[in-house]
Point group: C2
Chain length 412, copies 2
Amino acid sequence: MRCEIVAVGTELLLGQIVDTNSSWLGEQLTTVGVDSHFQTKVGDNHQRIVSVLRQALDRSDAVLVTGGLGPTQDDITREAIAAVLGVDLVTDEAIAATIATRFAARSRPMPANNLRQAQVPVGCTAVTDPFPGTAPGLVCPVGDKVIYAVPGVPSEMRTIVGAVVLPDLARRAGNRGAIVSRTLRTWGESESGIAEKLAGRIDELDDTGAATIAFLASGIEGIKVRITAKADTIEAAQALLDAEEALARAVIGDHVFGVDDDTMESVVVALLRERDLTLATAESVTGGLISARITNVVGVSPVFRGGIVSYATDVKYDLLDLPAGPVVTAEAAELMALGARRVLDADVGLGITGVAGPSEQENMPVGTVFVGLAVGESVTVDQLRLPGTRSQVRDYATISALDMLRRRLLAS
Amino acid sequence: MRCEIVAVGTELLLGQIVDTNSSWLGEQLTTVGVDSHFQTKVGDNHQRIVSVLRQALDRSDAVLVTGGLGPTQDDITREAIAAVLGVDLVTDEAIAATIATRFAARSRPMPANNLRQAQVPVGCTAVTDPFPGTAPGLVCPVGDKVIYAVPGVPSEMRTIVGAVVLPDLARRAGNRGAIVSRTLRTWGESESGIAEKLAGRIDELDDTGAATIAFLASGIEGIKVRITAKADTIEAAQALLDAEEALARAVIGDHVFGVDDDTMESVVVALLRERDLTLATAESVTGGLISARITNVVGVSPVFRGGIVSYATDVKYDLLDLPAGPVVTAEAAELMALGARRVLDADVGLGITGVAGPSEQENMPVGTVFVGLAVGESVTVDQLRLPGTRSQVRDYATISALDMLRRRLLAS
């Protein structure tokens, strides 16, 4: 079963918007066992959209089009699909009424263009839920093949694909029963290292076919391990998934920091909440990146006291009470952790100092980072040597420090 | 003149990597007046790469392939191009020698695979500068058309495209003389607002053809206005560009914050340096995002003292000396700016408080933000009402505050 992806929009070709939809869709298709051999970007041009759709339908079993479903004259995906199918567009009166009602509710006059969104090629089904009247999606059967059209707005696209397109594709792919998947988020181990640890189990699964394990490198955010299980019922698939997760966790160990939508910072905040501990930070090399990530977590207020970005050296001396002297040292990181905890009246202190570059500092090479953690009576310091540009060193230092804090909280 | 882009790599189809190369290339092609009607992603499969290249060559004047030039068995772009051209691959002895020398210099044995990178389809020219021996690019004339192959690694891709591909495309497009372009970075005005202001000049340029003006919406980072000028000599093109920039700046005004690679934070840091002023921040709603952006600028040390992330309310009272009471107020932002400046011993203080959501706070709705600036004797506060999710409110608040600081520094 093959599904080809077509992203419509001149702004994509001009580089004004990066086409992240196709990447997300490619990842989703793998979860229902559907291959995607080609992904094409095409501009808002009727003839070219038609030619791309015809070719995609010719060489694949399904075509998923994103974009071009809005109300303006540039939005011509509906017309292109009608041309490929050789059918007319008809107005779906229910959708038209919903659109009119929406404008009336806001006491705004409705530009006639907006009714374009109520047009549906004959033989296609409009997907109006969960976005009544707004750029609905289309499901268009073509013989034993199918064209899906979904909005280009990522949030709307994701909802309709999850609710309508993936289940329909799974059914067409002959996936009887249920497919469930879960992603383990890991940090601190390379993709090849994790793959080696799971190689035996992956070989066994290749024989039984009950589940699959895939790796997705996510740059500085670590390696994702996605487990997908199939069974006759959702309960049975879920049980398989739980069992595989347990096996995977047993070999990957505490490199697993979370599942699915967890982030390193959301996990740290959850651990602080569970343990009823408050946190304070003192950052130099990361300049506020750690507190910025922590404070993006909803519900962080009860556990995060605040942070001090002690960028100038004498701020470290004056505000955090470091003794005069070098500041890219293990001792400085330790005193910064203790200073943050004391000045901001927290249970846990995190201090971080280092050299982001481009030049060395205090004769320490670029990429040298010290992370201090003060938890209860215990104060620990770790030294890192991180690769990359200034920006990469700062990002690596940030997630490394958060991971150290996670491990210390788990052990406390 | 049309150039089609083909991105090769199974990891692109699976969504493990987002194809940002094609977007960047699409943007670059517009600077030399070349259209790109189709952009295709295809996996590491010989037959499918060949079919995509054949079709692209058929319907466009030039094809630009990225990726698949590395040393592994998965890297088969060279073979696919040879198949399209109907020619053999031959080893370029100079490149082979360079590769061997590189391994010898590191005293490492060279896997035989690495010599694959020295293979060149007959009739193609290997582009070895400025990356001797590493995944060189290829220029392959096909009748009056051409296939370019460049590495998938963005930094290498960009260098070769800028040095070799764009000049060759410009020459083929009949661009006699020189083309130069410059991007004005703007913030605080909508794309339609800027387009309206420049509409008259764009109409005039449509007639003369000496220069073009294009808009690129860059989300939270504002609207980019790219001016491109053509003339017989580089000096004449540069003079045209300077004249157009002056005209554009005259109508867009101080919404222009920088040019080309400038960022809002790099401009703020440059203004502080010029004025010999130091900065300190006190952040609540943005939680360190402002100091994190400021400290990513190379050379920030002399002007940035540090910041206080006063997340918990009583940290604002204790450390910044705010009186007990509400903290999402204009007065709080003002006192935070003054407190940051005093505690961190800086010339300029920036204080920011607000409600990022998801829930309201102190009866203030989500998106309410106050920014206080203390510069010299003057203290000002601005109130914002920002849209979006928690994360968007924080990002908007960050760049808004940096822009306010920029304007205050310009006026001081």
